[in-house]
Amino acid sequence: MIGLTHYLMLSSILFSLGVLGVLLRRNLLIIFMSIELMLNSVNLAWVSIANFSNRLDGQIFVFFVITVAAAEAAVGLALIISIFRLKPTTHIDELNQLKG
């Protein structure tokens, strides 16, 4: 039977894949995508705990996490675009001057 440990293990696998993505990749957009992946795995953990404890609070939190993640994605990508306009690169190592 699919118990709570299955879901929590799956969400921890997805979370660590997201962390790996943030650490390993140098492209700003891929880092941003792995952050969305980490948020998504946290959502999965919320919903599975809400389901197995027969309470709905977990689902409400996921509702708000999705909203915050979407608003953050909108503003974050606007930042990436304005950075791109200064220096046409999304390679994170080249963005090391604070000037500009």
Partner: protein, 128 residues
């Protein structure tokens, strides 16, 4: 109308079955046409379509930011609509408990109308 309430997983099975059916149909048609319509390759046919003129410059130079602004507004208003759905679902049931539920949503919408007017004034919506 006594009918058996279908379980969510049966619905998912039905939807997946229908998606697979449509995908198989598309792949089948593509396969048949790729098999029957032999492609006689020649450089003219395979080049970029530019009304006969040779393509100049890379195909993807930068575009105006207008498309990006529209995508942001779409995202924000989509979230707003997401909050309207559960509200609309229980609106009729909660009317007995007085108009509190109506007042809650009106505050939510008022703040977002302020945002909408700000965008309108800042010219985010009009298209030169």
């Amino acid at each position: 109308m006594p009918y058996k309430k279908t379980m969510p997983s049966e619905n998912v099975l039905a939807v997946i079955l229908m998606g697979v059916f449509a995908a198989l149909l598309g792949i089948l048609l593509l396969g048949v046409s790729a098999f029957l319509g032999r492609v006689k390759r020649n450089p003219e046919k395979l080049s970029v379509y530019e009304c006969g003129v040779d393509p100049t410059g890379s195909a993807r130079e930068r575009f105006s930011l207008k498309f990006y602004l529209i995508a942001i507004f779409f995202l924000v208003f989509d979230i707003e609509i997401i909050f309207l759905y559960p509200w609309a679902l229980i609106f009729r049931k909660n009317l007995e408990r007085g108009g509190l539920i109506l007042f809650e949503m009106m505050c939510f919408l008022a703040i977002l109308v302020v945002g909408y007017l700000y965008i309108w004034k800042k010219g985010g919506l009009d298209w030169k």
